[in-house]
Every structure is written in C-alpha cells, then in structure tokens.
Symmetry: C2
C-alpha cells in the first residue's frame, strides 16, 4: 500500500492508529453476555460495561460524552468556536452483536471513528463531529433492528416500547432497567437542519473486496429487498403406484423455479436472487411431494431493477406451474426500499480513498446497516473494509490490521476533505 501523507495531520500514523483499533476491538470483545462467545444484546449487562469503557476512551480524547435515551453513546467534538457552525457530521456504527458474533461487526466502525478523532487532533474544522456507538442494530433482543439509529433519526415509533423480549421484558422496561428514560427517546432525534451527514465504516460481510484484493470499498447504495414466499400445490401421490405422467409433483415444479431464480440473478448486474428456504410436504421418501413453500429473496440497490426481477420470477413461476398442472400462489410479499447514499458525501469518500492510493471499488451493500435508518434524517455514506474468509456473524470474523489502517487514513482524509469543501463553499456547514 502506498501512503500519501499530503494533507494529513502532522504525525499521522495510520499503522499505529489501525493497530490501536485492532487492540480495542479485542478488548471490547471481552464484554459478553455469554462467556465463551461474543454476545451483546441491546442494553445488556455486557453493554453497560462496554459503555463505561467507551465513555472513558471518548473522554480521554476530549469528547463531550452523553448517552441518549435509546442507549446510544455519543462523543461530541465541537467545531472551532471561531466559525459560525451549526452542523454535525456523525460517524459511527453499532456495539450490539448477534449471539455468538464476531469482534468487528459494528464495533470496528465505532473505533475507526474514534481513531479519526485521534488523528484529527486539534485540527480546525468547520463542523461538529459526533462519534456514535449505536445501541442496537442486529434486532436480536426485540426482533426490531436499528433501535439506536432510528432514535437518532427521529423515526422511532413509541409503540415499539411495548415489544417484549423472550424473557417477557418490554423494550420500555429494558431501557428503564439500564437507568435511562424511554419517554425521552424523541429528544434523542437529531435536528435535520443541523445534520451534515452520517458516514459509517463497516465490515463488508461479503467476499467482494477479498476477491478483488482491495482493502476498502465505497458503498454505492444499500440494496432494497423483496422477501417473497411462494407456494406450489400439486397432488401428494404414492411414489411407486403413480406413473410419472399422472403426477403433479410440487417439488419438481418448485425446483425448476429455483434454477430459474439463479439464472435470472446471474443475468442482471449486481442482482442477488436467492431461494434460502424450501419446505416440502409431506417430505417423505416414498411420496410424490404434494406441496412446497419456498422463499424468494431478491436484492438490488435500484428498486426498479429489483421489482422487475420479482415480477419476472413470479411470472416464471406462473408459467412453470401452469405447464405442470400445479397450483401456485404468492403467500407473502414484503419489500424494503433501497437506501441511496448521498452523491456528494460519496464523491468525497471516493476522493479520500484515491488520495490514499487505494484502487476504487464501488459496490452495493447487500446487508442492512444503521445507515439505512439514519438515511431518514439526511445524507449518508459508507465505507466497507475487506472481510477475509467472509465468515460473518461468527467468532471467525476477521479483518487485516493493514486494511484497518487504510480505513483510518481514508476516513481522516474524508473528514478533512469535507472541511475543505466547507471552506471552498461547496458544502454548507
């Protein structure tokens, strides 16, 4: 990796900053709800001890630390008082994990944001920076993702406070138990007028950067999702007595569609089309299957491409089932729109990446992130870090220290680049 230091703060040491991020990821991984593996659910005891550590680290950096009513830890770096600044750039990610998760999913983005603050030192910036450690993104404890980021974005629905976890504790109760006041969640919302943007660094959770041998990549958009459940109904029949030409085999019909789903997915750039769930009735060796229910998961960063794909695949299912004399129905159809990244923030991220000597990769995010929720508030952008081995939501999750150093450099250049834009008047702080 070629490192350009032009424009970086004096004494900037990407390797040292990156190594500290690595060490701190190791350190936070010790705080877990389940000894032996990493599990940190929303506002658990392990989360409380992570809060204590983060608050200390942030205070040591001179940040003004607060915890909002949704349990987000926020370290505030003020803009230079000499500049008439009202806006805040938000950097961060989440600190919860799935049960048995990895060290980096979420935490990496929080600690890289913190490293950027370290790198900036006393640099004069025309905007405030909030480093945010979101309390909840995975949606495990209450089956509700983005609790923290929705609170920040002002899109938290108070009705969600009645949700209960598997132990019967309500979301309201969990927040109170943590010493916070759930009724103050509306006050956690940032004012869109004072929001410059949100930029999140996250583990890729996929193989693309590793495949291309790139340390980091710029996210071109967060894919929208269609979650469809399809049902094929034929006639269950004796596998020995019923001739092939007198069968209505639900499985074979559904199998034909699964093959077509893959073919279609491969034919459209950046489309993801997956049959992940496949349930057969009665699912015994000697009975021709009478029914199949299967999922169809289609994702693309452009909603119209995704919707066209779903329409085409449903049409294919109709054609296949009609040909086979099998009944077909769409039994569930949920969609989630794509999240667009901000053009200006993303251009600045691209510039910072190229200034860092990294070859550009622009790629969609196939998973959801806090940026999805924060996009309700205003501009967002994202940087992915290469994910060696691609094992996500698992103890084997890894990142390379060099890649983390590169991410710190790119993000530092990015923040400084935004400051330059403000000075040049192309960005209004």
């Amino acid at each position: 990796m070629r490192t350009l230091t032009t424009g970086l703060p004096d004494g900037f040491d990407a390797q040292a900053l990156g190594q500290r991020v690595m060490d701190r990821c190791d350190s936070l991984a010790e705080h877990t709800d389940e000894p032996g593996r990493i599990t940190r659910l929303f506002l658990s005891d392990a989360t409380a001890s992570v809060h204590a550590v983060l608050r200390r680290w942030m205070s040591e950096q001179g940040l003004a630390v607060r915890v909002d009513a949704a349990g987000n830890v926020i370290g505030h770096r003020s803009a230079s008082p000499s500049l008439a600044t009202t806006k805040t750039l938000v950097l961060g990610s989440h600190i919860d994990t799935v049960p048995g998760g990895g060290k980096y999913d979420g935490v990496l983005g929080v600690l890289i944001a913190s490293a950027v603050i370290e790198a900036l030192g006393s640099a004069v910036l025309p905007f405030h920076i909030d480093v945010v450690a979101f309390s909840e993104e995975e949606g495990v404890r209450f089956g509700l993702p983005y609790i923290g980021s929705r609170a920040l974005a002002g899109s938290f629905d108070p009705a969600w406070l009645n949700r209960r976890d598997r132990d019967g504790v309500s979301l309201h109760g969990a927040i109170e138990h943590f010493g916070l006041d759930p009724d103050q969640i509306p006050k956690a919302a940032l004012d869109p007028e004072r929001f410059l943007g949100y930029t999140e660094v996250h583990l890729e959770q996929g193989p693309v950067l590793e495949h291309l041998k790139r340390p980091v990549g710029v996210v071109s958009g967060i894919q929208g999702q269609s979650r469809v459940r399809l049902r094929f109904e034929g006639d269950a029949a004796h596998a020995g007595t019923v001739p092939m030409d007198q069968r209505r085999d639900a499985l074979v019909c559904a199998a034909k569609l699964a093959v077509e789903v893959q073919d279609y997915g491969r034919s459209v750039d950046e489309l993801r089309a997956t049959v992940g769930l496949f349930e057969v009735w009665p699912n015994v060796r000697n009975v021709v299957p009478g029914a199949v229910e299967m999922s169809l998961d289609v994702r693309h960063a452009q909603d119209e491409i995704r919707m066209a794909a779903v329409d085409a695949l449903i049409e294919t299912a109709e054609r296949l089932s009609a040909a086979d004399g099998v009944r077909f129905a769409v039994v569930e159809h949920q969609t989630q729109q794509a999240t667009h990244v901000d053009g200006n923030l993303t251009a600045a991220l691209v510039e910072a990446l190229q200034a860092s000597g990294v070859e550009l990769t622009e790629m969609p995010s196939g998973a959801g992130h806090d940026a999805v929720a924060v996009a309700d508030l205003g501009p967002v952008s994202m940087l992915f870090v290469r994910h060696p081995g691609g094992v996500s939501h698992h103890a084997d999750e890894r990142v390379w220290p060099d890649d983390v150093a590169t991410a710190v450099e790119v993000m530092t250049r990015y923040v400084l680049g935004l400051a330059d834009q403000c000075h040049e008047g192309t960005l209004r702080p």
Copy 2:
C-alpha cells in the same frame, strides 16, 4: 360389463357375491383400535375380534379353520379325496391396516378369496385351497412388514421376535399375549413341495386402472426399489452480500437434479423416479443454502432397468455438482429386488380375465404386497382392482361394487382354469 357364464359354477351370481364382499368390508371396518377411524395393528384387540368374525364366516363355508403361530387365519378347502392331490393353492391378503387406513386395503383380497370359495360350492378340484388372512403386511407396529406372509413362506427370522413396538412390547410378547406360541412360527411355513402358488387380489393403490377405465388388471411384476439418499454441500452464504457468481448454492444444484430425475423417469417405460424428501440447511430466507439432503426413490419391475436408472442419475448428480463447485455424496443406498410373477399363473389369470370380458391391462405393482414375501416360497400372481380417486391408506379409500363382482368372477374362472390345466396335465397338482 359383459358377463360370460360359460364354465362358471351353476347359479354363479357375480353381483350378489361382489355385494357380499362389499358388505363384509364394511363390517370388518368396524373393528378398529382407534374409534372414529380404521386402525388395526398386528395382533391388536381389534384384530382378535376380526379373527372371531373371519373364523365364523370361514367355518360357515365348510373350511377347516386354523390360526398359525404368526396370527394368520387360514381356512382350508380340501381337494376331492378321489384325486391324489398334495398341493395347495393359496388365496388371500392381509387384515392389518395403517393408522387411519381404509376399508379395502388387504381385507378386499381376503374377502374376495372367501367369495371364490362360496362360488366354487362343491366343485371338484384337484388341489387344496387355503384362504389366508395374513396378520401383518403394513409394518406399522414393529417397523417390520410381511410378518404373516414371511412366516408362511418360511423366511421369518426368529431374531425379529426381539423387536419392540413403541410401547416396549416385544414381537414375542405380542404373539404370546394373543394366545399364540411364537416359538411355533417355523411350523407355520408351508412346504414348497406342496405349494401350488399364491394369488392375491388387492386394491391398485394407484390411478392406472381408473385412467384406463378398466375394472381389474393383471400384475406383471412387483417393482424393485432403490432408496438412495444424496447430499450436496456448498457454502452457506449471506443472501445479500455474496454475488451470484461467488456462490456455491447447494439448493440450486439439488434442484437441477430433481428436475433431471423427473425427466429421466418420464423417458423410460414404467419407471418411477421420485424425489420425495428434500432437506435444506440452514433453511432460512436470507442465507444461500449450504447443504441439501434429498431422497431418490427409483422403482421398476426389471431390476437392471432400475439399476441403470440409479447409476445414470448418480452420474448426473456428479456432473451437476462438479459444474457448480458443490460437493456431492451418496450417503445411503438400499435396494430391494423386483418380485417376478409366475408366468403360468399369470397366463391363467389373463385367460380368466379375458373370459370375463374384461380388456386386458398388464401393469407393474409399485407398492409391496404379501406376494413379495410369499414369492420366496414359490409361484405368485396378483390381480388389481380399480381404485377410484386413488386415495390410499386413508378413510376415503373406495372400490366400485361392479369391479369387485368382476374380480370375483375373474378369480373364480382362474381357479377353475387351473383345475382344467391339472386335468389336462399342464399343471401338476
């Protein structure tokens, strides 16, 4: 239906005999282990009461009734004492049912055999006839089919007596509890030297005769079966983050094989090829499937055709999985050879069927029957009765009274035809 009465006993009335079979099927259906549905497991209380009824009916026909140590009820009609006869023709089927079974599966064959005895009246025959109500064919109680017929055929393995049902009762104990001596089972075996043949009438349990609009059909052989379990292993992956060209999707690969199984099955006359079981890991919407296990059930009345099919399909699976970068293995492979029907008995059955004015249908049996076990002893043949609606192992099981009447006529002609062959010297009684 055209009825030819030439060669039939005086006063032969197919309709009346058929109607009595229907009435008796209704009557036996009242004996059940589970009120509200028909369930008669091996040597259950309901079986005991069916025994009592059958013994009475058989005695009323002048048959010498005995129950062997395996719980088979046998009604013996002696050949004319004036003829130096040593051989016995066995007619019958089974009286157990699956849980929630129908009125006709098994019982129909026993009662048609009984109706043939009625029709024969005092006709002079050069062989004995045993009407057998086999105690067990379905294999439900001890996971062991053909208990009764294997005892008769002399292929009952005494080790089976240690098997236990779900209540922990051993097969040995169940037989003793019924008042029989399990150690006498070897004596239930017929002497092959004295065995003329076994002919079973059974519900088709399939749609072929209904489709062809034929009341009865002659079984050309009982299909052998290959029961194979296949495993495909790819890489479980995130349905959003992993591009289509970097996946190893076990489901799509297995789905391709399922389609090829149907195509192959359709391409070979009388072949049955079925994927009935299909299990996916982890089987959730948003994960590209990492593994699939599926069954392959292949049946044909000619073993070499079945084995060639299995070989070809495994080769196809190897080709598909290699192309997809998916690992493939055969994890289980069981086979059961085809049962050949006896050429002479079957020719006599065809002749009887044609003499009854029925258009000939020769068809394989796709399900197993007591004839499979009895074939170890000597010649077997089978007649199928049309199965309207094709619902098998279910309360909705039906037969048409006219078809039953036809079956009675065909079977009566068949027995008389065998007698003619003996007189002519082409069959040695």
